[in-house]
């Protein structure tokens, strides 16, 4: 079956009433858990897993995939309107989305996020069908040394996320890395920094840290200053849509974000979260006015929101072609298949074409549904801000607490949430960038794990690492990012000596 035939066949599967219903249920649930702080797609899928027994494997995967990418749509809403990330992959959206809302452009930010997600979803499905299986082969060439170099490079490059001083960024990264070492080390079972408390063995989870640093901290800050959430004068759809100029800036960012996100989806780790950081860093680097970032740059919303959707499509490649989940969320997509006895692998496309093409086509259908669902809802979501603020904020705190608890049934997660709220509140007073803690918490454990695997493989022989061209290239890029700016500054100091000679 060619890709085109496959897609056509896929649409007949995706448009069958039962699958259409599964798709709609998935994207609706996804949007809701995305909007609600605390509970994200992983928690929702874990809760719903037993109910998928009643579905066919194809319907089950269609529904779960819908929850996964649907949450990426919903997540941006609460980030933009109240600076509370709906889920971890929307942390970056807080940086500029909330600033846009403060300037009265909440509607534009929401619209751009929804359209960006749709663009990325469409391109991602295309990528999955056309190059998907081939890319899985390419992903196999990445072994522990490559992944280790990739995380080193990622950490170095992305820690320059928001500008500001290198030392301040370094402190935040160090805090994030340190938090990532708490708990039982997953490869050898050694407990670290648990002080004998068994509960701490589970470690510091990403969700409560992200919710605390952004959501709870924002609410504390509002309570302290008696500040107000952004006010929106008009909720007429016309006034909420982006202007021509905003579109012009957002569309290229969406396209770049889509591509980046898809590629990051192929890498083991929380791909959706990482892709948003990467896209934000790229947009800031390419922007004509990088100083706007952090003050409501529309590219900073469009790029990351497209990227996290692209990543959901990319993450399906290793899942379906190798049968191995690379991201925590795709582990649950896999579970939805294996409870029906379908173990994906290299033969999935030929043995279960209805599943592969059906899910791919349904993702496009689901993305279209989400767009239709989300654009009219913008008005509704924006009017939420008209609720009495004390009720809205208390409600958000309650939802964050309940949602966070529901993921692991863990009281520790609640304490982390509250503590991180206080920490985040303090950090913004001191002018630190809390997003870097989230970034380091994601990358740190990946870096440590792959470094250890590399060391095991190397047995003390550095050539094992340096003889791999990809690894070497990535490490050199990381070194250049650290070394070049000071070197250039030094060069500039020397330059005036020669300058008069050239321009007498």
């Amino acid at each position: 079956m060619s890709a085109l035939e496959g897609v056509l066949y896929g649409f007949t599967v995706a448009l069958a009433p039962a699958n259409l219903l599964a798709c709609f249920a998935g994207v609706l649930i996804g949007t809701v858990v995305g909007v609600l702080p605390g509970i994200g797609p992983i928690g929702a899928m874990a809760l719903l897993l037993p109910s998928t027994f009643a579905l066919t494997p194809t319907s089950a995967l269609i529904m779960f995939a819908g929850i996964y990418y649907g949450a990426m749509y919903g997540g941006s809403t609460s980030s933009i309107l109240v600076n509370v990330p709906g889920e971890a992959a929307s942390v970056v959206t807080c940086l500029d989305g909330y600033q846009m809302a403060r300037r009265g452009r909440a509607g534009a930010a929401l619209a751009v996020a929804a359209v960006g997600s749709f663009v990325a979803g469409t391109l991602g499905v295309l990528g999955l069908v056309v190059v998907g299986v081939g890319l899985a082969g390419a992903a196999l060439r990445f072994g522990p040394p490559e992944y280790c170099a990739l995380t080193v490079m990622g950490l170095v490059v992305l820690s320059r996320l928001s500008g500001g001083s290198l030392a301040r960024a370094g402190v935040m990264v160090a805090v994030g890395l340190a938090l990532g070492t708490v708990g039982m080390e997953p490869m050898s079972g050694v407990s670290r920094f648990t002080f004998g408390a068994v509960a701490l063995a589970q470690g510091i989870e990403l969700v409560p840290v992200a919710m605390g640093l952004f959501g709870i901290a924002e609410i504390l800050a509002l309570a302290e200053t008696r500040g107000t959430l952004p006010r929106v004068a008009s909720v007429r759809l016309r006034a909420l849509l982006p202007t021509r100029e905003e579109w012009r800036r957002a569309v290229p960012a969406m396209l770049r974000g889509s591509g980046l996100g898809f590629l990051v989806g192929l890498v083991p780790g929380p791909a959706a979260v990482l892709s948003t950081f990467l896209s934000y860093a790229v947009e800031r680097r390419l922007a004509r006015r990088p100083e706007e970032f952090g003050h409501g740059a529309i590219e900073g919303v469009a790029g990351p929101e497209a990227a996290n959707n692209g990543a959901t499509a990319g993450a399906l490649v290793p899942l379906l072609a190798l049968g191995v989940p690379f991201a925590p969320a795709t582990a649950l997509l896999l579970a939805a298949l294996v409870i029906h006895g379908v173990q994906p692998g290299p033969l999935l496309v030929s043995q279960h074409p209805e599943l592969f093409y059906g899910v791919a086509a349904s993702m496009w259908v689901g993305n279209a549904m989400l767009l239709i669902l989300n654009l009219p809802l913008i008005g509704l979501f924006v009017s939420l801000l008209r609720l009495p603020q004390h009720l809205l904020l208390a409600g958000i705190v309650l939802l964050a607490l309940v949602g966070t608890y529901s993921v692991n049934n863990s009281l520790l997660d609640l304490w982390v949430l509250v503590a991180m709220g206080v920490v985040g509140w303090g950090l913004r007073k001191l002018g630190f960038e809390p997003a870097l803690i989230v970034l380091a918490l994601v990358l740190g454990p990946m870096m440590e794990k792959t470094l250890r695997q590399t060391l095991f493989m190397a047995r003390g022989d550095p050539w094992v690492v340096l003889a791999r061209p990809l690894t070497l290239a990535m490490l050199l890029v990381a070194a250049a990012v650290v070394a070049l700016p000071p070197a250039l500054r030094a060069a500039r100091r020397l330059a005036p000596v020669h300058a008069p000679a050239r321009h007498p």
């Binding site: 407990s191 068994v198 063995a201 579970a335 095991f456």
Partner: protein, 318 residues
Amino acid sequence: MPMPVALLVGALLLATVSPVALAFPDRPITLVAPFPAGGAVDIVARGLADAVKKHLPRPVVVVNRPGGAGTIGMAEVVQARPDGHTIGLGAVAVAAVQPHLTALPYRTPDDYVPIMKLVTLPVVVFVRADAPFRSAGDLLEHARAHPGRVRVGVPGLGTILHLDLELLKQMARVDMTVVPFEGPHQIPALLGGHVDVALAHPAPVLPHVRAGRIRVIGVFQEGRHPLFVDAPTFRELGYDITLGVYYFLVAPRGTPGSVVGVLHDAFRKALAEPAFVELAHTHRFDIDYRPGDEVRRELWASYETLGRLVRQLGLAKP
């Protein structure tokens, strides 16, 4: 005191003296699955909760308490009130290996009540289809000739799969380099050529075997595996290592014998339910019933041998 009132008082007294003896279970039973939703432990737990419905008057509710390589959930069960309303799915590594690695609220198999063994997941050893080793014998010979050169991917240090490999290394007197991965990530690492050999459970390996990319060269169990009949057991090759990953039903210490009996009988019937047998077939695990005292003996044996092994490997806490 009129007769009916006296009877009532008597009944109340009796109820406060031995509440469980009268009516167990008197509310839903919590079954703690110490690993995340969607994993093998979770699938077994949910399958059992469903299959046991017919055999208990109250429902069994699965609660996932992941983290700490299963120790958090196990600790929760061990510390629960011993009335049978909180039980858990124990895993052999969580019970027999983890206490050697870290300080936990339980140590030996005497600190909890193993009710019965439920299922076993076999351990298979495999290479890429284009690997130079045709058989496990080839592999060991090659490893003997090139000490430390063969890289073996295992899912984490201190797991049963890792320790099976270490036992093999000791018995065969060969040196191979162990590379630990998380979950089934040793499979893509093998396919990409980053390790030469890997160990896993049958389910995630099977699609790659059918696609002709992976060849299974040995199994750690007593008899040959029906899906990989060409692969010898390591016992046949002269290395008597048959420990697979098994799950057992566990209750807190002090749970009354009568309650343990009720649970044992109900879950034993659940293991024979057609839906559960079907589930076991789908997920390639083996239903492996053994009574509680036998499980305790097996756990003690594993606790001793694997404890010695992790100390030799330097994994145990100092």
